[in-house]
Each structure stands twice: as structure tokens, then as C-alpha cells.
């Protein structure tokens, strides 16, 4: 008989349709509207998991996101997801699920042996074991075994095939929770016309009201839910989000929501994201998140067939499932009676309701109704223990204050130790909590942020209170955002009297070895809490970490307060003195893919392209990343490796002429009457002597005297300069200049603007560069008219006409060279004109690799390699650039003894001997055979094969390097066992006098 525990009617499931699903290979049936848990219960599957440590059989415990037991592995392959709560997983046709943490099977699990070893593995046992015989190697052996036993489910090893979206939203009122309090709040707020977002973690609205037979405003609860949601859906300023969990509350009312867009569907439609992460900035938050029912720690309180009382009622009322046939209800407050009444109405035999309170405390509406129905109530009684194997078979009940126990046969135990308001987000918003003795619960006290708890989340239980408080909170929240004055009446439910609850955390054990679980998910018992207290872990945060109470995927929603109450009792303190652990986001687990959203793979960061990028692609360039930019590495021809291409290109520059795309370098315009003075303060060398129409290499220091950046600054007019920076430092230098002008020296009349993207730039370098320029531009480029370091304006003849350009005669390669800057949208036209004009002269494009070879041969330092954040200008051979006749940024601290010491590492050139290849990232030593530690004399900063020298060369920093030219040392790389003899020399391998530059 399929679904033996399904009730013939009742609930919101659609019995007309059947869904087929699989659990541990067994094919079962359910209905639309079911969760996996309700369908399993309907099919009589009462063991769904094995517990974390002891591998005890476990059944479904709750009905919501606080579930501590029923975690399953859902789906297969790339979409398989571990630790999915069966109580919230919506059933769909073809769903495949498997139990976790058991081998070989759920029914027979070898791990259950841990239960026999329980005395050896109490809480914290791993802090005291796995150490013998004491060497680290042994721990690695233990670790392999421990690793296999650890965890519950398995993550997929394949890439996530789904896409995730991000959504930003602003609203005046964010209502978290779609139960009676939340719907009342949303209704009240929306009526004033403000922007409202309402979210609920479940697939339908109503929360605790779903399937309830309560009366609101004279009609049924389900009709009220339908009316309110229809009203809200009709308003344009209201956003309704189901299947959406508010997982975290951050600064200034920024709330993270995760919307599960397609998890409930058999397949993800290709046009939809799997989940959507909402970042909502809310004016005021109404927190109507309800409350979590609590566990009671009695012996064997984890047997399958044990369930939270509220959850049992939910399975009856919402899903039309009978969780058992004969039930014992254990409680100490009124709300569990509603569960007993619902179970009774569904045909479950209520064997007993055991209430820890005395008879005269049972005067509330619900206990009276239960009495009137003839349900057996035992006051002043608690459950002493449960009995059974793979399912509960009986419960022993005894007087609260001790006495003989009597045994009651049952297959269902409904437990409720009280309710803990869901204060997580309130606490994350820096709200404080207070312990309410009368309610035996932590309730919100005060928050500096506009977050209003309402209903059960505020410690106000009962439907009437939820509606009234929700309405008031929604109205108040809307008022804070300037909503119209409300005239709407609060919804009303029947009044009820509620008896006070009594705190019931645990029941004393009667037999040694009885396990009284506090945290079902992590297998933490009441004895473990006592052990922690005995061992001195008396702070609630230490209790958590020592016992792992509350550290599982459920974050202790049903158990945290019980644990801290037991700790209070064990250490002789009041509960408020112990306090709660810190509440941290996310409230429930959020899949990692939701956080980056679309920023994955190539989209983690933006990619920046030069104006000539497409030309480079069309001509076979390979690319490298320079910061966020793509730059051509080289342009390999057929049969060439990238390195061969780079060497060909570098050779060609020295022999003929080449062109390289230098658009990515930072460019900053400076204008203003104090521009010169500003440059003099910012650069180490002098710029007041720079004539109009000239450019100059400049070095900037950090405040601590270390080299920050270098570049070339040109004087275009008396108070108009163009500064260039390195590619990777462009943004940093820009920020540096803006800060100096706005914060430190606001009286200077200088304006700065970044123009990096506005200009495309190409450098034409080589002995035939002048020939190419002469064919290209309309000004006289002879050496007399346009000498080395000249700057001017000209026009470039391109296929699209004469393009205005700035022309700079400066050289990075050490050859005769010109830089041409044009407006970026003319970049490709300029580039193609250069290629065409250079064809008769053997011009080839070259990339960053050849450019690097050329500059290493010339000895030009590069930020990041030679200027590595530890070197001064003098270390790099540029000490003379630091002008003695003026101050500059960095000068005061440059005078410190350590930065002027004689034995500092100085820039030198190295040539590899014996035809050997310079090792990667080599260190310099005197003798490679020296036993470790081998004193390091320096290190290599840049290296390459030099076509000009025909050997491997390097630039390096070497202790007292300038005194050591001619010495033979060793460049070693111990990681790859390489060692090469090198000759030390000046850091310049070609044309040290600079004749090629100036000709």
C-alpha cells in the first residue's frame, strides 16, 4: 500500500497528482506540495539518517529549516548537494536523495560501533588523542582515517553548472517572515504607500497559519492569507518573495536575501538563474521570523519517531501526514496542546500529555480544550526516558520531582521544551537580548538600528498577539519612512488565555550510560555540557567550541538555549549571566555560488583592452595580463614559439625598427599655476628646469623614502603637464596626487585628471624609427628639430585622414624612439598607418616580451621587479636623481641610516657563463656547495635571453654590488636544483653612453 501514513484529506498537498522520487534507491511516491520529509513520513520511512558521531539511527525531527537530523544528499553528479534538510526540500518528480554518514547502508551502519565506544569519545576527545607516539608523521596517518570519518555529506567534485544572479534593491520597509505577524506588518505598511519587500523562506505564505483552523476577522485563516497576499500582489510598490531566506543583517540595514529560484524544479530552465542573491538596503526592518521550538534532554530523546510537537502538528495540518499511530506528548507550555489536538483530530491515539507544570498552571485555552476532548493529561510529570531500537517503542514517564516511572507504549513522542524567539538577525544588527524568566526565553531588548521585532520573534506568542504586533510594527516602520498616516484596522483573532510556561531543559538520567541529547546534529549530550563545565570551559563560547554544540549546519537552532541553560546550572550561575553565543550570518547555509553571482571565471574582474586590441588578435598575438589589461606578449608566426617570436622581434628593433602598443601606461594631465611646484614636491628630481616642449624621466618616492613609481612627465605649456606612470600603478599614483592636492596642500592651484583611456599610444623604436616617422607625420623630425626628449604636436597621416597627435621622443628600449599619442578612437587608424609606413623599413610589431628583453639589455628598472618596495633610488643606481637642492616626498625618511648603509643591495648586471640558462628567480651566492644556510648575497630581479649579448643576462640586486664588477658568483635556485656561474658587471648591456638614443 503506497503512502500508508497519508491522511485521506487535509493539508495543502495535491492528492490528485503523484510525484515519483527515490530515497536510498527505493522508489516512493508523494504529492505536489510535499517536502521530502513529509513524503518520507507518508511512506512510513522513519529512519532517514545516522547521527554525526555515534551513528545512531535518526528520523525526521522538525518541519522547517531548524531540522537537526534529516539531512540528505540530494541529486547526483555536478548538481549533487550535501546536507540538504529533507524538511525544506520541496518534492518534485524524479527527485533522487540518499542518506548520509552511513556505511554500508542506513539499516546496517558499521559506524554504529562508535556508540559502544562512547565512553572513549566524549566531547573534546580529539584534543586529548591522536598524539601518541608523538611525532607529526603519526598525526598524518591518523588524519587519513579521521578525514574519511569526518563530515556528513559529500560535495560535488565537478564545476557548478548553474548560474546565479545578484539583485540590488532599496525599500522603505523590509518584512522578514510571511507568517501572521509578517503578513499583518506588510499589509499595514503597504497601505501607507511606502515601498515594501516581504520575504519568507518557504514556498507559500502563511507560516504557522498554513493549514491552521484559526479564525481571523471572522473568516478562516487560509482565506485571510489569500486575501492579504492578493492585496499585496496588486500593489506596484510591494515585492513578494517566497522561497527567500534573509540570511544576514549587515551595516546600515543592508540585508542579504537568497531567493531559491529553481531548486524546487526537476530541471533548471536555461533562462533562469538557479538562485538570486538580493542585497536589500531597507529603511526599517520588521523581523517577524517566528520562534524555534526547543528540545528536552531526556534519555534516548533521539530515537526515530521522536519529533518536535509543533512539527508533528505541521505534518498533520499542512501535509496531511500522520507521523505515528500512538503518541506521548511531553511539554511544559500551552502550545504543545494544539499539536495534541491536531494529532487527535487526525486519528492519532494520544496515550498521554505529560506536562511538567502543576495542575493549577493548566488553565489556558488550549489545555482546557484538550481536556474537553478527553485527552489524558498528566500534570507535574516529565518523560524520564524513551525505549526502542530503530524506532521508539515506549516512553517512561515519572513525576517531575522524582518517583517511580511508568511505561507507556507509543511509536511517536512529541517533545516541546518551549520556544526560542528567532532573534538571529536582530542580534546581527547589534540588537541586545534579555532573558525573560517568565517566558524562559531570550527576547529582543533594544537595537541602535531601525529593526522592529514582532510576534513570536519578539517573545509575544499566540495568534492574536502576532497579528496585533505585526500590524503595529508595519505601521510604525512605514511612518518612519514618511508613509501616509494609516487608517487600517489591525486584523483580529479570537482571544485566548495562555498559561505561563515553565522552563524544562532536561530530565535527570536514571541509568548510567543513558544519552540525553542536547544537540542532535553534533551528538552533544547533557553529560558533555557537564564535562565541559568540569574541565573549566565555563564561558558559553568555550562550551560551544569544546563540545561543538551549535556548530553544525543547523547552528543549534533547537538546542543552543538548552545547552547554555544546562551550563548555567552546572556552574551555579543565572542564565542571563551565561548569555548566548554570537549570532553570525548566514542564518541557514547559502550555497557558495550565490555569493560571486556572475563574477566567476573570466568575469571575476573587468578586463581592459587597448584601442588596438582587435588588430593584435587578428595578427596572431598571444596575450598577458598587466593588471586588468590584456597586452600582446608577442606575435608568433607560423612555426614559431612565443619565445622565438619575442627574440625575433627584439632583434628586429635593434636592427631595423619595431612598434609596440603602450596605451596601457597611466597618463595624468596636470594644469594650474602651481603645477611645477607640485611636481617638484612629488618627484625626487627637479622639474622646474624642464622647458616647454620637453619631457623628463621622473622618480617618485613613498613617504618612507622607497621608490614608488617612475614615468616620464612632459611640459606641454608653462602650466600644463602630462605625467605618465607605470601600468599597474596608474590608479595608485592618481589617488596619491589627488590626496596631496585635496588634503595636504589644498592651497596649491593644480588640477589633475586621468586620461589613461582617452589616449591610445604606440612607441616606434629602432635605428630606422626616424625614417618611419618622417613618412608618417607632418612636422620636421630631424635630430635638430626634434631632439632627444622633445615633445610636440603633429598630425599623423592615416587612412581616415590627418589625425592630431602628441609626439614624444623618449626611449624605453635604448634605441632611437618616438611615442605617438592619439585620441583612443583613432588608435587603430594610427597603428595601421605606422605598420604601413614602416613596411619599407622592415618594421615589425613587438609585444611585452621583446619589450622586456630590450629594457633589460638597456638596464631600465621596472616597478615590481627592481623597484620592489624595498629599494631606494640609490640602490637602483639613480641616487643622483634625488635632487640635493630641493625637498620632495620621501626625502626626510630617506636620510635614515638603514637606507644609506654601505652594504645595501645595489643594482648590477649579470651575464651567465658557460652558455648556461639563467635559473628562474635565482639567488646569488658565493659558493653553491656551502652547507645550508647559504649566505645570500643578492637576488635576480629580471632575466632574459639577450640577442645582443648572445647569452642569458639578468638584472640583480647584490650586496655592495657597485664595488663588485668583474667578480664571478653563482646564481642558484635550490627549488629546482639549478646553479649557474655568472659574471657581475654594470646594469647595462648595450650602448652605455646612450648614442643610439640621442642620434
Amino acid at each position: 500500500m503506497t503512502q500508508p501514513f497519508r491522511l485521506p484529506q487535509g493539508g495543502i498537498v495535491d492528492r490528485g497528482a503523484r510525484l515519483a522520487f527515490e530515497f536510498d534507491g527505493v522508489r516512493l511516491e508523494g504529492h505536489p506540495g510535499d517536502t521530502l520529509a513529509s513524503a518520507l513520513l507518508a511512506n512510513g520511512v522513519h529512519v532517514v539518517a545516522r547521527s554525526f558521531k555515534y551513528h545512531r539511527p535518526r528520523g525526521v525531527y522538525g518541519a522547517g529549516s531548524d531540522e537537526p537530523n534529516a539531512l540528505v544528499q540530494l541529486a547526483c553528479g555536478a548538481r549533487t548537494e550535501p546536507n540538504v534538510r529533507a524538511t525544506t526540500a520541496e518534492l518534485y518528480d524524479g527527485l533522487v536523495a540518499a542518506s548520509q554518514n552511513r556505511w554500508p547502508s542506513l539499516a546496517f551502519d558499521v559506524g554504529a560501533i562508535n556508540g559502544r565506544l562512547a565512553r572513549l569519545i566524549p566531547a573534546g576527545f580529539y584534543y586529548k588523542t591522536f598524539m601518541w607516539p608523538g611525532t607529526p608523521r603519526w598525526w598524518l596517518r591518523y588524519e587519513r582515517v579521521v578525514r574519511r570519518a569526518a563530515g556528513l555529506g559529500r560535495a560535488s567534485a565537478e564545476s557548478d553548472p548553474d548560474s546565479y544572479e545578484h539583485q540590488y534593491a532599496h525599500c522603505d520597509v523590509l518584512v522578514i517572515g510571511g507568517g501572521p505577524a509578517g503578513l499583518a506588518a506588510a499589509r499595514a505598511a503597504a497601505a501607507t504607500g511606502v515601498r515594501v519587500i516581504v520575504c519568507d523562506e518557504g514556498p507559500r505564505w502563511g507560516g504557522s497559519l498554513i493549514g491552521d483552523d484559526a479564525t481571523i476577522d471572522g473568516g478562516g485563516a487560509d482565506r485571510w492569507i489569500a486575501d492579504v497576499t492578493r492585496e499585496l500582489a496588486a500593489r506596484p510598490d510591494v515585492t513578494l518573495l517566497t522561497r527567500t531566506t534573509a540570511f544576514g543583517c549587515y551595516d546600515d540595514n543592508l540585508v542579504g536575501l537568497v531567493e531559491r529560484v529553481t531548486d524546487h524544479l526537476p530541471a533548471v530552465p536555461s533562462h533562469l538563474p538557479r538562485q538570486r542573491l538580493w542585497k536589500v538596503r531597507a529603511g526599517t526592518i520588521v523581523l517577524a521570523a517566528g520562534a524555534h521550538e526547543r528540545i528536552v534532554a531526556y534519555a534516548n530523546n533521539d530515537l526515530p519517531g521522536t519529533m518536535l510537537a509543533g512539527a508533528a502538528a505541521t505534518y498533520v495540518r499542512r501535509y496531511g501526514v500522520r507521523p505515528g499511530t500512538r503518541a506521548v506528548v511531553c511539554t511544559s507550555h500551552d502550545d504543545a496542546y494544539a499539536s495534541a489536538i491536531a494529532l487527535h483530530a487526525a486519528g492519532v491515539d494520544i496515550a498521554a500529555i505529560v506536562d511538567a507544570r502543576d495542575d493549577d498552571e493548566l488553565s489556558g485555552t488550549l489545555p482546557q480544550r484538550a481536556r474537553a476532548l478527553g485527552l489524558p493529561i498528566a500534570a507535574g510529570t516529565t518523560i524520564a526516558g524513551a525505549h526502542g531500537g530503530k524506532r521508539v517503542a515506549a516512553a517512561s514517564v515519572a513525576p517531575r520531582d522524582g518517583g517511580p516511572a511508568r511505561r507507556i507504549d507509543c511509536d511517536l513522542v512529541c517533545v516541546s521544551g518551549g520556544f526560542s524567539p528567532t532573534v538571529h538577525l536582530f542580534s546581527q544588527a547589534r540588537g541586545t537580548l534579555r532573558y525573560d524568566e517568565a517566558l524562559a526565553a531570550f527576547v529582543p531588548q533594544a537595537s541602535p538600528k531601525p529593526i522592529l521585532p514582532a510576534g513570536a520573534a519578539n517573545g509575544r506568542f499566540g495568534l492574536a498577539a502576532a497579528l496585533a504586533e505585526g500590524h503595529a510594527a508595519g505601521r510604525d516602520a512605514a511612518q518612519r519612512s514618511g508613509g501616509a498616516v494609516a487608517t487600517l484596522d489591525a486584523p483580529r483573532a479570537d482571544a485566548e488565555t495562555r498559561g505561563a510556561p515553565r522552563a524544562l531543559w532536561s530530565v535527570p538520567a536514571r541509568h548510567r550510560g543513558d544519552k540525553r541529547f542536547v544537540d542532535l546534529m553534533d551528538d552533544v549530550t547533557a553529560d558533555d555540557v557537564a564535562l565541559a563545565a568540569r574541565e573549566g570551559y565555563t564561558s558559553v563560547e568555550h562550551l560551544k567550541r569544546y563540545t561543538t554544540l551549535g556548530m553544525g549546519p543547523d547552528q543549534g537552532k533547537t538546542s543552543n538555549v538548552v545547552g547554555l541553560a544546562l551550563l548555567a546550572a552546572a556552574t551555579g550561575r543565572a542564565i542571563p549571566a551565561v548569555g548566548t553565543t554570537t549570532f553570525r550570518a548566514p542564518y541557514t547555509p547559502v550555497t557558495l555560488g550565490a555569493f560571486p553571482g556572475a563574477h566567476c571565471g573570466a568575469h571575476v574582474e573587468p578586463t581592459r583592452y587597448s584601442a588596438m586590441h582587435d588588430w593584435h588578435v587578428e595578427h596572431g598575438a598571444g596575450f598577458v595580463n598587466a593588471g586588468l589589461w590584456k597586452r600582446p606578449h608577442s606575435y608568433p608566426r607560423a612555426g614559431e614559439s612565443p619565445d622565438d617570436a619575442a627574440n625575433r622581434e627584439a632583434k628586429n628593433v635593434r636592427a631595423n625598427v619595431g612598434v609596440v602598443d603602450v596605451s596601457t601606461l597611466g597618463k595624468i594631465e596636470l594644469q594650474g599655476k602651481d603645477a611645477v611646484q607640485f611636481l617638484d614636491r612629488v618627484y625626487a628630481n627637479r622639474f622646474d628646469t624642464l622647458a616647454v616642449g620637453r619631457c623628463r624621466y621622473g622618480v617618485m618616492l613613498r613617504e618612507d623614502g622607497i621608490v614608488l613609481d617612475d614615468g616620464t612627465t612632459s611640459r606641454l605649456a608653462p602650466t600644463h603637464f602630462l605625467m605618465t606612470t607605470t601600468t599597474v600603478n596608474a590608479a595608485r599614483v592618481m589617488q596619491h596626487l589627488e590626496r596631496l592636492l585635496q588634503v595636504d596642500w589644498p592651497s596649491l592651484d593644480v588640477r589633475v585628471t586621468s586620461v589613461t583611456e582617452q589616449w591610445a599610444a604606440a612607441a616606434v623604436s629602432g635605428p630606422k624609427a626616424r625614417d618611419v616617422l618622417a613618412a608618417l607625420v607632418d612636422i620636421d623630425v630631424s635630430n635638430g628639430a626634434f631632439p632627444f626628449l622633445a615633445v610636440g604636436e603633429c598630425r599623423v597621416r592615416t587612412a581616415v585622414g590627418h589625425v592630431p597627435a602628441r609626439l614624444f621622443r623618449m626611449s624605453y628600449s635604448g634605441e632611437l624612439a618616438y611615442e605617438i599619442h592619439v585620441a583612443a578612437d583613432r588608435g587603430r587608424a594610427m597603428w595601421e598607418a605606422v605598420i604601413a609606413a614602416g613596411a619599407p623599413f622592415g618594421l615589425m610589431p613587438y609585444g611585452t616580451e621583446a619589450m622586456s628583453t630590450l629594457r633589460i639589455e638597456k638596464g631600465h628598472v621596472v616597478v615590481g621587479a627592481e623597484a620592489d618596495g624595498r629599494t631606494t633610488a640609490d640602490d637602483l643606481g639613480m641616487g643622483k636623481l634625488v635632487s640635493p637642492s630641493k625637498g620632495c616626498i620621501g626625502k626626510p625618511l630617506l636620510a635614515r641610516p638603514a637606507l644609506t648603509a654601505a652594504d645595501r643591495w645595489q643594482l648590477v648586471g649579470l651575464t651567465a657563463l658557460d652558455g648556461a640558462r639563467m635559473p628562474r628567480a635565482a639567488k646569488i651566492v658565493a659558493d653553491p656547495a656551502h652547507p645550508l644556510p647559504n649566505p645570500m648575497l643578492g637576488h635576480v630581479t629580471s632575466w632574459c635571453w639577450s640577442p645582443h649579448v648572445e647569452a642569458w643576462i639578468a638584472l640583480a640586486l647584490l650586496a655592495n654590488g657597485r664595488e663588485r664588477h668583474g667578480e664571478i658568483l653563482w646564481a642558484v635556485s635550490p627549488l629546482v636544483d639549478a646553479k649557474v656561474r655568472v659574471k657581475v658587471g654594470p646594469p647595462c648591456f648595450i650602448d652605455p653612453a646612450g648614442e643610439r638614443l640621442r642620434g
Binding site: 546600515d252 613617504e703 590626496r739
Partner: protein, 91 residues
């Protein structure tokens, strides 16, 4: 993510800004003794409570601003152009 009040653009999310350090330190004169420069570059107080700091609205107006923020609660008490102190409890 904080909401930071830019004096020119209004209330904007923290992601648009770059943090710029302590606003209460003054740049020493270039010829000040080495100790003054060492303190300026390396030494910072770590106050608990309202503290003035610099931010740049780098993804917005590119202006530097001075923000008074309580380092314990992250509450932002006021902001102003870098030259003027913001309103709010003095520090």
C-alpha cells in the same frame, strides 16, 4: 557595508569609497626632525570611540572626505571636506 555620507554626493555605499587612514595626523614640515616624520609615517593611535578618518569617493566624485566614525559600533556621526572637522561628538 556601511553607508557613507559624501558631502557632495550624499549617502553612498561603502563600496564606492577607498579608505585613507587617520585624518587627525598632520603632515610635518619638510625640515621637521626625523622623529616627527617617523611618527607621521609609522605610528597611529587606535582609539575606541568616535574617530576621524579619511575616505576617498573613488568610484564617484573623486573627492577626499573626512568621516567621523565610532570604531566600536561603526556608526557614522558625520562627514565633511578634509579641511574641516565634521559635526558630532568631539574627538
Amino acid at each position: 557595508m556601511l553607508l557613507i555620507p559624501c558631502p557632495w554626493c550624499g549617502m553612498r555605499a561603502q563600496v564606492e569609497f577607498t579608505y585613507g587612514g587617520d585624518a587627525t595626523v598632520r603632515r610635518p614640515a619638510p625640515d621637521a626632525p626625523a622623529d616627527a616624520w617617523v611618527a607621521y609615517v609609522y605610528l597611529r593611535d587606535n582609539p575606541a570611540g568616535p574617530h576621524d578618518e579619511l575616505w576617498q569617493h573613488s568610484a564617484g566624485c573623486r573627492q577626499w572626505l573626512r568621516v567621523r566614525r565610532d570604531t566600536r559600533t561603526h556608526e557614522i556621526l558625520g562627514s565633511s571636506p578634509p579641511g574641516d572637522p565634521p559635526d558630532g561628538d568631539a574627538r
